[in-house]
Amino acid sequence: MAIYLDFEQKIKQIQEDIISAEVRHDEHAVEILQKDLEKEVTKTYKNLSPFQELQLARHLDRPYALDYINLMMTNKYEIHGDRHFRDDAAILCYLGYIGGERVLVIGEQKGRGTKNKIKRNFGMPHPEGYRKALRAAKMAEKFNLPILMLIDTPGAYPGLGAEERNQSEAIARNLLELSMINTPTVSIVIGEGGSGGALAIGVADKLAMMRYSVFSVISPEGCAAILWNDPKKVEAATKALKVTSSDLKEFDLIDDIIEEPLIGAHRDKEGAANALKEYFLSQVTSLRALSESERMEQRYNRLTSVGAFEEDV
C-alpha cells in the first residue's frame, strides 16, 4: 500500500483513476489521465513549502539506502562489524560493483516496517556504526575503491551506551579520517541529513543531495523545542533552518542536486536509483581525472572554505 501525504491527495486520486482505466483497457482515458498526472505533479512539486519537502524527505515510501544498494549494485557482499563491540545495523557497508566500477557503499538505513525499524534503530547509528564505516573506508582506500556514502538519518543515537562508548569521538574521528582518505569519495543525502550523525559520513570530495532530501544542524523538532520552547513550531523551525536541497545549493554548501523522477523518488525508486548511479559514476570519472594531490587539495579547500563571516581589517 502506497502512502500519500496531505498535499498528494489529488495525485493519489489520479493514480487510482489510471489504475481503474487500465483495468477497463481504456487506453484513451489512461493517456489523458497520465497527462493530468504530469500536470498535477509538476504543479504540486513546484510549490512545495520547506515543511512539505521535509515530509517528502521522511516519506515512508522513499527509497532507503538498501533500496539504492539493491537497485544499483551487482555482485555485492555486505560486510559487518567494527571489530571491537558489535555490528550496528543502522549503517550498511557493501562491497561490489556499480556499473562495472568496483566500489564500497556505506549507507545509513532507517528500516521499513516495525521489525526492521527496531533492528535498524530507526537509522540512528551508535558509535560502533561509525567505526564500522571508517574501518570499511580504510579498506577501500587500501584497494583503491571509490566510496559512495548514502546519508539518511534523523541523527546519531542519543543513549546511555552510545555516550559510554563515546559517540562524540566516533563522529569526530570520521570527520578527521574521511578528510584524508585517499580515494575518490562521494556523499549523497538521500532522505534526512540529521546533524553530526549525517555529517559523520558526509565528508567527501563531492557532497550532493537528492532533490527532496533535507540537511540541517538539528532536527526541526529539536530546534523548535529549544529556540521556540514549543515542539509544535516545527513548520517555523523547518523554514528558518533552510533545510532543503535548493537552499543548500544556493548557499554553496553542497556541490549538486540530483534531480528525482518527476513523480518523486518515493513513487519511482528505479528512476531515483538510476539518477543517483549516473551522478556517482560521472563524479568518479572526473575525480579520477585529477592527480592524487589535486584531488586531496580540492577536498581540503572544499571542507575548509565553508563559512559566512565578515572581517574588519
Partner: protein, 309 residues
C-alpha cells in the same frame, strides 16, 4: 547583581557599587567566599574543590605566561546568512553577545607562551551564545591551526560550548568537518594538539575538534557529552545514573586521558607540549609521583611473588 547571578559563573563583571557582588557562593557546597579570595584560588572552591565556570580572560591568565598572549583574528564578525529569526533574531542575539562579552564571537584565539613554549591558543567563551560553534569560530580555529603549521607549534583548544550554533544551521554544522580537516593536517605535520574540555562541552563541539586531541584533558566535574542529558532521558525513558557524562565518568570509560585540577593545568600542558615538541619548558615544579607506585604493602607483595616463582 545578586549572589544568584554568580552561581557557577564567578567571572561576571560586577558593579562595584553593589556590595553583594563581592561575594560568591559555591554551587557545590554552598560556602560563601569573597570574590577577591576565590579569584586568587583560580575560582576553585577551597572548601570542596568545585571548579567554577570562568570567563576567557581568567582562563587565559591561568594558562599562559604573563603578558604573552597576543590575540589574532579579532576582526572576524558573524553575519546572518539564513536571516534566522526564532523568538528573537540571530542579529539581535549576536548584538546581545557582543554587549555581554565585548567580543564578536564565542572564540578568542591567539599566540602565547606556556612556560616558555610558543603555542597557538583557542579559548571558547560560554557567555557568548552558549559558546556555540558558528562560522567565525570555525574560521578562527582553522587559522590558529594554519599558523601552528607555519610556525611549527602546538595547538591548544579550550572548549566550553553547548554545540553547533543553530542559527547558522548547516553553515555551523560544517564547521565540524572544517576544523577536523584542519586538525588532520596538523597531525600529518607531527604537531601536537591538546584539547582541554571544560564545563560544559556538548554536541557539535564535542563531536568534532574537542575529542580529537592527542591528549584530552578535562577539568574535575565538567559535563562532557554528545547528547544533552534531557534528550537522553527522553529517549531512554528513565533518569540518568549519578555522575553520567562527568569528567570522572569519561576517564573511567576510557574517553579522555586525564582529569586535571586547575592549579596544575598550566604546568601539565607545558610539560606535555615539551615532550611532544622536544622542548624543555621553564617549569618550576616537576611532576609528582603517582600514588599507586608507593603502596604500603609493596615489600609484602614482592615476597609473595617470590614464593610463586
Amino acid at each position: 547583581m545578586s549572589i544568584l547571578d554568580l552561581f557557577g559563573n564567578a567571572n561576571k563583571k560586577t558593579s562595584k557599587s553593589d556590595a553583594s557582588a563581592h561575594w560568591v557562593k559555591c554551587k557545590s557546597c554552598q560556602s560563601l567566599m569573597y570574590y577577591k579570595e576565590i579569584e586568587k584560588q583560580q575560582f576553585v572552591c577551597p572548601k570542596c574543590g568545585f571548579h567554577m565556570r570562568i570567563g576567557v580572560n581568567d582562563r587565559i591568565n591561568i594558562l599562559v605566561d604573563k603578558d604573552s598572549f597576543v590575540e589574532f583574528d579579532a576582526g572576524l564578525k558573524p553575519v546572518d546568512p539564513l536571516r534566522f529569526v526564532d523568538k528573537k533574531s540571530y542579529v539581535k542575539r549576536v548584538e546581545e553577545g557582543i554587549a555581554k562579552t565585548g567580543r564578536n564571537s564565542s572564540v578568542v584565539s591567539g599566540e602565547c607562551t606556556i612556560n616558555g613554549i610558543g603555542t597557538q591558543l583557542v579559548v571558547f567563551d560560554f557567555a557568548f551564545m552558549g559558546g556555540s560553534l558558528g562560522s567565525v569560530e570555525g574560521e578562527k580555529i582553522l587559522r590558529a591551526v594554519t599558523r601552528a603549521m607555519e610556525k611549527r607549534q602546538g595547538v591548544i583548544i579550550v572548549s566550553a560550548s553547548g554545540g553547533a550554533r543553530m542559527q547558522e544551521s548547516t553553515f555551523s554544522l560544517m564547521q565540524m568537518s572544517k576544523t577536523s580537516a584542519a586538525l588532520a593536517r596538523l597531525a600529518e605535520e607531527g604537531l601536537p594538539y591538546i584539547s582541554l574540555l571544560t564545563d560544559p562541552t556538548m554536541g557539535g563541539v564535542s563531536a568534532s575538534f574537542a575529542t580529537l586531541g592527542d591528549i584530552i584533558i578535562v577539568e574535575p566535574g565538567a559535563l562532557i557529552g554528545f547528547a544533552g542529558q534531557r534528550v537522553i532521558e527522553q529517549t531512554i525513558g528513565s533518569a540518568l545514573p549519578e555522575g553520567f557524562q562527568r569528567a570522572e565518568f569519561l576517564l573511567e570509560k576510557g574517553s579522555i586521558d586525564m582529569v586535571v585540577n586547575r592549579s596544575e593545568m598550566k604546568n601539565t600542558i607545558a610539560d606535555l607540549l615539551g615532550i611532544f615538541l622536544d622542548q624543555e619548558p621553564m617549569t618550576a615544579t616537576r611532576r609528582r609521583e603517582d600514588s599507586d607506585d608507593s603502596d604500603d604493602d609493596h615489600e609484602e607483595e614482592y615476597k609473595q611473588s617470590k614464593i610463586l616463582y
